[in-house]
């Protein structure tokens, strides 16, 4: 059986009739009467929607308006619809059906043009609301195929892009206040697909089909998801594997220190992003569950990793054991008191996916592949969690609260740069090297070229020995702010002598330039040096082709020129010294969690 959520349009076109016959023979299909009031030819779209609905337990019967007569049939010929008795009316219009303002439309007249066009549609909805006891679905508009004014089309009050954008906002406001009107987001759908794949001009001029077959399939899939949501058939639970699904690596083999999660490598960032996607689903009301082949205690320790976005409390059910996954999933369904037809199962392992898909009828098992960077996109493509409304319970927690806070803070203006830095609410973590971060430390050391005072390169083994050797002061810094976590972004490696500390390595990722993070690092260096009875720090600048931005780094921090004691320093290298006798803290805008000196 073809997976209709993911297969190509070519596959569907070639098999549609046979599939339709096969699906129509299922018993227990729910009758559904759908009127499609179209602004262009809608037959291909209707045929695709028919097939998708059949595959989802409906037996649809369609009425299609005469070509282009969406307004007339709704407003003036309501008896056709009265006789048809639709459960659902879909008003399917496009940017070709919009009455546009003239190019010389004045800014002051634009709102009235938007309202005039919106009024035409309000008449349609009001008539349907008054005459029929049905759900109404109205699409908003894709952007126009051509911009007569180029980029200015989105700015000028006579620009079609500007007009459609404002009309879409007006439609959204109408949908928000009319309980029976749902908005089909064709604007978003067409943008995700791309307008070049959206319009089909040969078919438009030949048969008045505006869209490519691919676009019609996207429209049908999207509307199918909305209809399922209206009838309570959206899914509610995301069941997740752990190893190589929520983090990289095998936690039972590698240990919690070595799993890939956080901001330290591209792969760990991708797992973090996927965890954030799962958490966002949870925050809007989708329940999360774990189904993993693992020792339970070890599996749970993965969520104690300092960079884990997901925490144990985010899961409604947690099954980590060595039983077959399909049995665990049935146990999860029983525990949560939900049908498996409300489940979506995500696992990087194709064998597990195949087993669960075969053994658990009704569960959705998208082929997510094994590349974490694609998981979220593939789950989204399945449209499993469509919602027609959002209750307060759905959007629990502080998600919106945090967002509002963010916005109000940034509506304010800043009188100076320090105020701006304060508004970022930066939090830094500074500590000596930890094993869990060694890979990132080595990676950052060997790829940072600009903010890097000496550009010395180190191997993993060398960094590991520096971590253990008490003659070295090794420090890492992590920084986060209200917009997110930058991860581990600064490293200092100092060599201790009885009276002095020599800073062999000081580097910082350029993504946190101008945040005063270097001052926080200096505070941490000074505090530790003084504790060891050291009152003099030596800094070295070794110029390279790329590190010019830190040529005067040490003098700006108040270091003074010093004589070189190291004959290996040549080629314009400079030596700088700072006396710590009267050192006072420099960092003022970062809340530093220094694990030793906080």
């Amino acid at each position: 059986m073809l997976d209709l959520d993911f297969c190509s349009i070519t596959d569907i076109l070639m098999k549609r009739r046979g599939l339709r016959r096969q699906l129509s023979m299922e018993s227990g299909l729910r009758d559904l009467r759908i009127a499609v009031l179209g602004g262009t030819t809608t037959d291909e779209f209707v045929n695709l929607l028919d097939l998708l609905l059949l595959a989802n337990g409906f037996r649809p019967v369609f009425h299609q308006s005469e070509y282009g007569r969406f307004y007339e049939e709704a407003v003036h010929n309501a008896e056709i619809l009265l006789n048809f008795k639709p459960d659902l009316v879909y008003v399917h219009t496009s940017c070709m059906n919009v009455h546009v303002p003239p190019l010389n439309c004045a800014e002051s007249d634009l709102a009235s043009h938007v309202q005039a066009e919106c009024k035409r549609y309000r008449e349609i909805w009001a008539s349907l609301e008054a005459n029929l006891n049905c759900q109404i679905i109205q699409n908003n508009f894709e952007m126009p195929p051509y911009t007569i004014l180029g980029n200015l089309d989105a700015v000028a009050s006579g620009g079609l892009s500007r007009f459609l954008g404002e009309l879409n906002v007006a439609f959204a406001e109408e949908a928000a206040r009319r309980p029976r009107l749902l908005l089909h987001d064709v604007h978003g759908l067409s943008a995700r697909m791309g307008l070049k794949q959206w319009f089909d001009w040969e078919r438009y001029f030949s048969y008045k089909i505006l869209y490519t077959a691919e676009a019609n399939l996207e429209l049908a899939r999207s509307l199918n998801a909305m209809i399922k949501a209206i009838y309570g058939k959206s899914r509610k639970v995301l069941v997740l594997d752990l190893d190589n699904t929520l983090w990289g690596g095998i936690i039972g083999d590698d240990g919690v220190d070595k799993i890939q999660i956080g901001r330290e490598t591209p792969v760990s960032e991708a797992y973090t992003a996927f965890q954030e996607y799962c958490l966002a689903l949870r925050d809007r009301g989708i329940l999360l569950a774990v189904c993993s082949k693992n020792d339970e205690g070890i599996a749970k320790s993965g969520f104690e990793h300092p960079s884990s976005v997901l925490r144990l409390e985010h899961f409604s059910c947690f099954k980590a054991n060595w039983e077959p996954k399909h049995e665990n999933i049935l146990a999860i369904a029983k525990e949560m008191n939900l049908g498996v037809d409300s489940f979506v199962f995500v696992d990087d392992n194709p064998a597990e996916r195949a087993l669960v898909a075969a053994q658990v009828p009704g569960i959705a098992v998208p082929d997510v592949g094994n590349d974490v960077s694609r998981f979220a996109g593939i789950i989204a493509q399945g449209r499993y969690f469509e919602a027609v409304s959002l209750s307060k319970e759905d959007v629990e927690r502080a998600a919106s609260y945090a967002h509002n806070q963010q916005r109000s803070a940034f509506e304010a203006r800043f009188t100076n740069y320090g105020e701006y830095l304060d508004s970022l609410e930066m939090v830094a973590e500074i500590d000596t090297f930890q094993p869990v971060y060694l890979d990132r430390i080595v990676q950052l050391t060997n790829k940072t070229n600009q903010f890097n005072l000496t550009a010395r390169r180190y191997t993993l083994a060398e960094m590991e020995s520096a971590l253990r050797n008490p003659q070295y002061m090794s420090l890492y810094g992590k920084l986060s702010d209200r917009f997110g976590d930058h991860g581990l972004i600064s490293i200092v490696l100092g060599r201790k002598e009885p009276q002095a500390l020599h800073i062999d390595l000081w580097l910082m990722s350029c993504r946190v330039l101008k945040r005063d993070m270097e001052l926080a690092m200096l505070d941490a260096i000074a505090a530790r040096a003084l504790e060891s009875g050291i009152e003099r720090i030596y800094g070295y600048y070794v110029p390279t082709k790329k590190n010019g931005i830190v040529a005067d780094f040490y003098p700006k921090l108040g270091f003074v020129p010093a004589a070189s004691e190291d004959p290996s320093l040549a080629g314009g290298a400079t030596v700088w010294a700072l006396n710590l006798a009267h050192y006072s803290k420099r960092s003022k805008h970062i809340n530093v969690r220094d694990y030793k000196h906080g």
């Binding site: 070519t10 009739r17 040969e202 001029f205 030949s206």
Partner: protein
């Protein structure tokens, strides 16, 4: 790659017509058209063109679409298009 022959194109079109017109066992000839073939209506016509384009990996121009009346026209057009693709 050798150019496709009209006979080969007609053979490959056969299952497409059977599927779209939903008539297993239907025999199409060069002179088949919407006039003499049951259930070849305007909607089936759109599907026939769409699937022929996809099957042969060609795209017909607007004026070419306008002139397609009989299966023979479709066959000849596909042969020309395929030859253009494989000079």
């Amino acid at each position: 790659m050798a150019n496709v022959t009209p006979e080969a194109v007609l053979t490959e079109l056969q299952p497409i017509f059977e599927e779209v017109l939903d008539q297993p066992g239907l025999t199409v000839t060069r002179s088949s058209s919407s006039w003499n073939t049951p259930s070849w209506d305007s909607l089936a016509h759109i599907d026939l063109i769409e699937m022929s384009e996809r099957h042969f990996g060609v795209k017909f121009a607007l004026s070419e679409l306008q002139d397609l009346k009989e299966v023979g026209d479709l066959v000849d057009l596909i042969v020309i298009k395929k030859a253009d693709h494989n000079p």
